[in-house]
Amino acid sequence: MKDLPKAKDFYSRLAHRPDSASDWMDVPVEIRKGMYCYAANPKSLDTLGFPYARDWNPVEGDWKLPENWQQIIHEGFKERLERFRSFKVFMDICVRCGACADKCHFFIGTGDPKNMPVLRAELLRSVYRNDFTTFGKLLGRIGGARPMTVDVLKEWWYYMFQCTECRRCSVFCPYGIDTAEITIMGRELLNLLGLNIDWIATPVSNCYMTGNHLGIQPHAYKDMLDFFVDDIEEITGVRVEPSYNRVGADILFITPSGDVFADPGTYTAMGYLILFHYLREKYGFDITWSTYASEGGNFGFFTSHETMKRLNSKMYAEARRLGVKWILGGECGHMWRVITQYMDTMNGPADFLQEPVSPITGTRFENAKSTKMVHIAEFTADLIRHGKLELDKRRNRHLKVTFHDSCNPSRGMGMLEEPRYVIRNVCDHFYDMPENTIREQTFCCGSGAGLNAGENMELRMAGGLPRANAVKYVHEQHGVNMLATICAIDRAALPPLMQYWVPGVDVTGLHEMVANALVLPGEKQRETNLRGEPLEGMEDDSDE
């Protein structure tokens, strides 16, 4: 029996991943199917005036780069180091302590070490050392420096688009280094060479031309909302009457277009309509939708600061045109990061608007003092707190709800309690996921920052694994069947994630549940919820 193979030898002969070399710089980048998004449509780049629009394919050897591409990157890098102090600081101060290394959902899910935040940043930092530090110039590779080559560029591209800019890693860094900011810069630099992805570039181009990511024209936007009005009437017996583009309204409402055009966000949009109608009937609430500022989201944020600024400005231009007092914003993720983190120094302060005060409760939203834009979860929580909503929780009692903190509202603006407060007031059963997977430490959906395409489904499922794993836990422990969230990307990205990892859990927005519970003046006995599903058990109650 001396010929028995040893376990190790035997196993090493089976096909498995080639061992990584000991140093990450020696591991060549391999662009794998399912992990990357298609290259940007050149027409979209042209529309936006982005440079080097062309057809190119990430898996082909020749990326058709401009001849002086290295110079373009070097100068772009230099310019950004000078413009953004944070970028320079983040390049310099990392001590490679590794505290962030295992905190990224993409590392945890894909098992690829280059998805460790510290390594993701090193991809850029190594070139920074080589090009901009004496230390790096002298010591070269020993000093962690390397010159910019085509392979390095490809590695940048592959891994900058495997980061959802979620900032989870930054929570754990003792120096507060925000790798998301490094990714943002990396993507800006790639943009200088026309290396964007289509899932970002075309929505941005659409938004630039028509006001929303999907390229929906104003009349179609209104048509869609009118469909909802009919549906609502069928379900509740009440005809709501939204107003559009109305000059002189008190408040302008802006929400991501996904709420209007993609399930299950559409039910959340119906929720807004119902809530606004209720408030108008009861308290004379005066709000208008805009078919021009028809997008709260801002995919420009995923290309460059300038593009983000351009797209953001139209919301305020519309607020000015309509002469409203302030802006109420729908359930969105990155829209709030842009508003909270960038708007004020980018297009603000919005001095022509008034400091937001709820006309119903008198609450002053001091956090929105400068941007003049209030998150609807906060607005509704305040209404409930003041007893302004008549709610029938029983209509949601078939739901066992958990809440996914979207990265941007939680880590980007500190909105942690309000959505939970609302859920507890409209549902009987609420169960939080484990502590180290929610609130500031929430795990990303794995599809943010423009990565919710179809061709990279493997990446999305792997990146969403830590989130799904925590949902699975409450599903098994408490029978949770509904995952609530206040982000339109989440409402689009989480359903497939659940189908793959935790079948039996559906996805909803907050205001879908609010509207299902809200008792409208003059409504008929509701037989279904907004999805048209029968309200089980309600009939019995009416007999009681």
Partner: protein, 181 residues
């Protein structure tokens, strides 16, 4: 003691070695993390893999029932099906159990009964591999279905068909947007 009983008695050692071999299918830094981190929510791959291997090992000793094996292995294979492994790479770890079993077996009696016992276990491992491959395929099919559904559900296309979206002259691509939300 019969081989099955000896395997049962040595379960924790064998499963641990098996787990280490599965971890070694990842790059070294990742393998280190998978083995070291015990938090089930922070290290779902490590936790799921260890639990799955342990359950599959039990199922093997209890007669390799395909239904039981499916339940045990689905979570591991589901993960490996989205991790850039080839079909072989995603499932071959099952075979790594064979040499571990033989190692233990070779330390015991070598009578004909023992040889038959070994064959039986090895046949069982083959069965485990087949189940693993079925799961792999099922996961990949789900994944492709999700991609297809995403294409189909592009609400926007419905609007284009309904004539609700007009072309913007300066940007002909508006008619074929890859819409995000």
């Amino acid at each position: 003691m019969k081989l099955v009983e000896r395997l049962a008695a040595n379960k924790s050692t064998i499963v641990k070695k098996w787990f280490d071999l599965v971890a070694a299918t990842y790059p070294p830094d990742t393998a280190k993390f998978l083995k070291a981190n015990r938090d089930p929510f922070h290290n779902p791959v490590g936790k799921t893999t260890l639990e799955g291997l342990s359950a599959a090992f039990d199922a093997l000793l209890e007669g390799a029932d395909p239904v039981v094996l499916d339940r045990a292995l689905d979570p591991i294979i589901r993960i490996r099906a989205v991790q850039s492994f080839s079909p072989t790479q995603a499932t071959a770890f099952i075979l790594a159990l064979k040499p571990l079993v033989r190692e233990l077996w070779s330390k015991g009696p070598s009578d004909p009964q023992a040889a038959a016992d070994l064959r039986q276990i090895e046949d069982g491992i083959d069965q485990v591999l087949l189940v693993a491959f079925d799961i792999y395929l099922k996961c990949r099919e789900t994944l492709f279905q999700l991609k297809v559904d995403l294409e189909k559900n592009r609400i926007h296309h419905a609007f284009v068909r309904a004539g609700l979206v007009a072309d913007t002259p300066v940007q002909p691509s508006a008619a074929e947007p890859k819409g995000a939300v």
